[in-house]
Symmetry: none
Subunit: 530 residues, 2 copies
């Protein structure tokens, strides 16, 4: 079979993915995500349920006008007709018909008990609902898929009826019947057995729709495909209700890179890291660093022992080449770091340390000494780059001199109730020969220091106005010493285009934060070429 | 086979899990996690690599004295001897022998090219290293397992040699050879084929060690077990390098609940949600809400359509009963706790909430409201107990009234070099009718507040002199808002005999810390019967 032409990669991020707790997509969000999905080359984008809510109706209206899809066909999701009415007379079916989407995916019950309990109708009427609705939409010129809800549970409970639902849809003109593990509890061996039986017995084209409740959504999808399914549904970044749907990028990367099945248009898989992160920006769900293939940590190695071997043959230490999904190998500079990994890390940042053995030894010693006091450069590339710059040039990049700083946090008298604590910081610095004394306020001490420092420096370097602190992490080292311990702070800063991470360490959490703040502004100014 | 007796559930959180980017565990962290793992009933806890770094050596020293394991055997991880020396003369092997751990897991190369490239020795010498090291430790009375590193890649490259490594270990006395998918790129069908072949050809007892790089770590583990493996390695919460190791709780829950294999002591699986979250508090890695079985969203339904059907038969809408893993079904968004778990937790703390439904409902509502603002009571039992006491008696235990507090952190003029930042706090409180105004100093703002508050209260309640703050954790909620986010602080306090954890929340990290400090002293005084 020509898989490139025939195999369906079907994305349901905009419908089933949006069921995720805490995920709320506006119409503009959905349009933006649809464009990204099309850029990945998926074959179908399920946009929502027109008629079920005004947002989805509006999405299909705007999609018809604004979306210029190169690869994907827009798909409307909806239900079979209500019991006891004609499909042509059911307003919910009309909304699907009139959505402008060339494809409709109809959800139907295939588990006998759900027909009785949730639909409150007879098994016969449910079959008629499938037959009529599929037939009506086919007659109106739409391509129709069927989502057989709770299929695997239904198959266990009443195999004959579950298969009958599939056959009915197929005979009425549904091109694919997607078997849904709606509750997500299946395991790969079970999926495989059922898909084999369905294809052999019912003679239909099978799709798979898996959820991750048993942690096997990806493997379940692959098991179904191995058993003959030629249509796979999933969501980018594994979004979805409860534990999420099958992560479509992981499924597709496994198919392309491990099973040699070209299911996306050529060259597009390498867009997947960029696209997965771009979609995460729209959904505002922080990307999981441990996500397979596209996660920030997916190809990150705590080098140490193996660094020299990695230099000789990186493929011995990675399951695939990160470039194939648009990701990068990263070497983490950790307390196990040796010279080889620091040399490699330096090269990544544009410093050639390999040609100067003495310098490399000094950098390695310095990193080890700093790590012994609590620093980590694993995440803090920007602080590491400043350190390298200092060791190579003999001077740390510096745009301002700190004279002193102070921050006060206090509550007003508690008897005047309802007051929150407030923080106020004063910093005294010298920049470009000018002394600046600035006070800033904030809802926390670091917030106040950040305000004051950026205002002070901004008088000499207006670029810092654009800088924004977007993440702040505190880690207490040396547990067992309470507040008398070493504190490590990681700060992520953005200039609106890219972001960088800096680190600060100290007995005092405020001092550690200050160190990371100073590095953050210094790195940002250096990058701006200040 | 009697699986309950024979099957090995092997946790490597403290060794391989600790390889995760950004995860740094102190010795006290590792001891705390080991206690939790033992509470889950795993059979083996791999504690680290004694001799490889001072922290792991210290862990094994303290574990021998402080850990009183009921279910698990402590396991030391290390390498086969160096090339060209006797195992008995290798200091790395000596550290394993002298670790006090009854079990040693030796990592060995089983991929020919890794032997040549990373070990830089011959294939024959590698076999001798396996034979000698296993034999030596067995002769010294330790139980020995072998981790066959890069096994699946090695099997593809040179099947005969990979099998020879296993046979050699087995003949020298290794009880289990764990096949490691070190690079994590395998798929279930491949794992199944190789495990079948290994068991048939080499006649060894097989374990499985899977990583999640293809998103199939859980399915790969199950595939190996289905093919005959009787030892499974993984990490709680799926921690680990790159994309993580197999999530041990998901694997075990699938085995127990879906495959009817009792691999944990009876009754302990239902502790898994609590334990997974308690470990996350220690690692300070935010728990993934979409985590199978134990995630906050794992049994959360956007009810809507199905609400009435769910009420009739919830099992139609969930793949297993959440109580079996100690989790709860949730029908509404944004509430973290259900009544059942609050009733259970109350019982644990000596409050019978089950007999008063109205009280239980009020406590549940209050917990939900507090959790919505950022509180968590999963780890902070002491704050939860104060809350219960307040709800049951109508009054929060209180030994002092806070009038106001203030803390100043500052650096002296940097031109007088070498000075660290200092913090100074002033608190004004009323205890037993007496007003106390006390100033304390510290090397951080919370340390200064703690000093001042304890001095002030100590004048009325001398018992607090014994109290010591032994751990302090900060988590920024609402990632993506920088320093302008909600902060949650957890504080652990000891009176020299036992310790307790309290929680505070606020926009201002100092205010959140203050809330946790006040709870900590209040709880301690209550326990002393003040």
């Amino acid at each position: 079979m020509d898989l490139h032409g025939a195999f369906h990669v079907y994305d349901t991020t905009l419908r089933d993915g949006a069921q995720q707790e805490g995920l709320n997509l506006s119409v503009a969000d959905k349009l933006a995500i649809a464009r990204q999905l099309d850029g990945l080359g998926v074959g179908f984008i399920e946009g929502g349920w027109p008629g079920a809510n005004p947002k989805d109706t509006e999405f299909f209206r705007r999609a018809a006008q604004e979306l210029d899809l190169r690869h994907a066909r827009l798909t409307a999701f909806g239900s079979t007709r209500r019991a006891g009415v004609r499909a042509a007379d059911d307003p919910q079916v009309a909304a699907l018909r009139d959505s402008g989407a060339p494809v409709v995916t109809l959800v139907a019950k295939s588990h006998d008990r759900h027909v009785e309990l949730a639909l409150r109708t007879t098994l016969e009427e449910n079959l008629a609902m499938v037959r009529d609705t599929v037939g009506h939409l086919r007659a109106e010129g739409q391509q129709v898929f069927l989502d057989a809800e709770h299929f695997f549970d239904g198959y266990r409970a009443n195999r004959d009826y579950a298969l009958e639902v599939l056959r009915t849809a197929h005979e009425a003109g549904a091109e694919v019947v997607a078997l849904c593990d709606t509750n997500g509890g299946m395991l790969p061996g079970w999926i495989s057995d059922v898909v084999h039986d369905v294809i052999e017995t019912a003679g239909v084209r099978v799709g798979i729709h898996a959820h991750n409740d048993s942690g096997c959504a990806v493997a379940n999808s692959l098991a179904a495909i191995d058993a003959g399914a030629t249509h796979v549904q999933g969501c980018i970044n594994g979004y979805g209700e409860r534990t999420g749907n099958a992560d479509l990028v992981t499924v597709v990367a496994n198919l392309e890179l491990k099973l040699d099945r070209a299911v996306l248009p050529a060259g597009l898989l390498q867009e997947s890291t960029r696209i997965a992160h771009a979609v995460a920006e729209v959904t505002n769900v922080p990307p999981a660093s441990r996500q397979p293939y596209v996660g920030a940590s997916a190809f990150a190695h705590k080098a140490g022992l193996h660094a020299s071997a990695i230099k000789v043959d990186p493929d011995l230490y990675q399951h695939t080449q990160p470039e194939r999904v648009g990701n990068d190998m990263r070497l983490l500079v950790s307390d196990m770091a040796g010279r080889a990994s620091i040399e490699l890390k330096g090269r990544e940042l544009g410093f050639d340390l390999g040609s100067d053995k003495e310098l490399l030894a000094r950098v390695t010693d310095r990193v080890k000494a700093l790590e012994a006091t609590g620093f980590t450069f694993e995440a803090a590339d920007a602080s590491f780059e400043l350190l390298l710059e200092e060791m190579v040039s003999g001077q740390r990049p510096s745009y301002f001199e700190v004279e002193s700083w102070r921050v006060i946090t206090e509550t007003l008298d508690r008897r005047s109730a309802g007051e929150e604590a407030v923080s106020e910081a004063t910093v005294k610095i010298v920049a470009q020969g000018q002394r600046h004394v600035v006070t800033g306020e904030g809802n926390g001490p670091v917030n106040a220091l950040d305000q004051a420092l950026r205002t002070a420096i901004g008088q000499a370097f207006p670029a810092v106005v654009k800088f924004e602190l977007i993440d702040y992490k505190v880690r207490i080292l040396d547990q067992g010493h309470g507040t008398d311990a070493i504190t490590r702070v990681l700060i992520e800063t953005t200039d609106g285009e890219s972001s960088w991470v800096t680190v600060g360490v100290g007995h005092n959490v405020i001092e550690a934060s200050w160190g990371a703040l100073v590095d953050a502004l210094t790195f940002g100014l250096r990058r701006q070429g200040a």
